[in-house]
Amino acid sequence: MPNSSTRSLQTQSPGYSRFIAQMSAGKRLSFYLKSKPASVAVYLIVVYIIVQAALTGAEAMGYTWRWYRIPDYLFQLTDDGFQWGEISIGLVKTLQLSVQAFALAVVLGLIVALLRLSGLLVGTGVAVGYLEFVRNMPLLVLLYLFYYVLGPIFKFDRYTASLLCLAVFHSALVSEIFRAGINAVNIGQWEAAKSIGMSSAQAYRYIILPQSIKFMLPPMTGEAVHLIKSSAIVSVIAVAELTTIGRNIISDTYLSFEIWFTIAAVYMVVTLILSVFVTFLEKKYAVAT
């Protein structure tokens, strides 16, 4: 733990000051910059610059800030009692879409990865074909394909089209994460599992996949965050999720700055919560090999 060691050094002051004094000027600077207060300070300065730039820009445009109108879009306390605002409803839709799409992407991705690793020529061929087709198409084009081409054929609505589009797009990336995670497990684990008579399915389920989780968690989190953010694209076919709601509110009220800042903050809160949660999971699955 670098933090606790820094702290304990600071309390043992004679040794600590000697430790600092022995460093060259450049080293000392980088040592101080790595400390927690310095990181926070740098972060605050950066945020200040961004906010200041936005404020200056808005002022130059003659923009009138109306932040006081924002809370109503999150929730309302009226005579009828508590009510969720439009942004909150949009957030729920975004979460619903993201969770369902990610679940589907994981299932599809695992199937594609297993096909790829099956050693069967056909399996590998199908998997690689699928992967390259999906991965090399812009998400927006894929969405149009699902909504305007496949939608009318298979009779699915705009929500289903969005869900399938996101799931398919991310399944290609998820399958690569699975493949990397599975390949990261030592070949000896396969041999040991086979040598006690396990089938490939049993080896995957009891031996290989549990061990690959720790390799897959960090990129998988990145993928989930990526999916939540890319779900905003379905606003182009007017699925009533967070971004669509934001656009609608802006076209009604012209609160562009306030609404986009709020929407951005909401996405960030969701993805940060996700990252923190996964950090806990990573600790749980950190097994020594």
């Binding site: 030592n186 000896g188 684990q189 041999e191 040991a192 599992a193 086979k194 040598s195 006690i196 008579g197 396990m198 089938s199 049993q202 009891y206 031996i207 549990p210 061990q211 097994v287 020594a288 090999t289």
Partner: protein, 248 residues
């Protein structure tokens, strides 16, 4: 199956890795209860040979029959053979995400489909036999190399195999841990298990082997009972090899 019939019958086995021939016309038959020690310089095909016996390597030509089952592309046959043949690896290959006890029960429970209670009972019995009953709840990384290898032996035994294969089981161990593993292997040999060991531990070989096999460049150069093998090896190459490893 009669007493004297071969439990492993290898006939004219060839194995190619690309263009490289790892095994060339290898024939060997092992009777039930027999202990065979295979030695030879590195790259001579010893490991490849025993890995063919449980089909971790697929042989390119020839015939291989284990416990009356011919090894071919039939998945059912391969798994049937693997259930009867235990294997101990140079690098232990314990499952690091499972405790010692779970390492021992996962095979019997998932492959043999016996109950958890029975599997744990059996696991504790074999941990006792490899002299580490007190380590059941630990994870492999918490054990020493010698302990890990003994757990690996116990894991194989839990499948109650009829044949045990050892692929240089002591080569990755610190010197002071070699004997604790060899002791367990000697006890296993004395219990009547059919064993094929690839090892350079000649003391162990002298003590337990019924048959010594010397391999070079994918061929069996010499096979003889240990007394004869060590005192009067027929081939020049085998004599040189023995001189080199017995020198110290």
């Amino acid at each position: 199956m009669q007493e004297d019939a071969a439990i492993i019958e290898i006939r004219n086995l060839d194995k190619f890795f690309g263009k490289f021939q790892a095994l060339a016309d290898v024939s060997l038959s092992v009777r039930s209860g027999e202990r065979v020690v295979i030695c030879g310089p590195s790259g001579s095909g010893k490991s490849t040979l025993i890995r063919c016996i449980n089909r971790l390597e697929e042989h390119s030509a020839g015939q291989l029959t284990v416990d009356g089952i011919e090894l071919d592309d039939e998945t059912k046959n391969i798994r049937a053979v693997r259930m009867e043949v235990g294997m101990v690896f140079q690098q232990f290959n314990l499952f690091p995400h499972l405790t010692v006890l779970e390492n021992l029960t996962v095979g019997p429970m998932r492959v043999r489909k016996i109950s958890r209670r029975k599997a744990e009972e059996r696991a504790r019995k074999y941990l006792e036999r490899v002299h580490i009953p007190e380590q059941a709840e630990k994870y492999p990384a918490q054990l020493s190399g010698g302990q890990q290898q003994r757990v690996a032996i116990a894991r194989s035994l839990c499948m109650e195999p009829r044949i045990m294969l050892f692929d240089e089981p002591t080569s990755a161990l610190d010197p002071e841990m070699i004997n604790e593993v060899l002791d367990v292997m000697v006890e296993l040999a004395e219990s009547g298990m059919t064993m094929i060991c690839v090892t350079h531990e000649m003391g162990f070989a002298r003590k337990v082997a019924d048959m010594m096999v010397f391999m070079e460049e994918g061929r069996i150069i010499e096979s003889a009972p240990p007394a004869e093998f060590f005192s009067s090896p027929k081939s020049e190459r085998c004599r040189m090899f023995l001189d080199q490893i017995l020198e110290h």
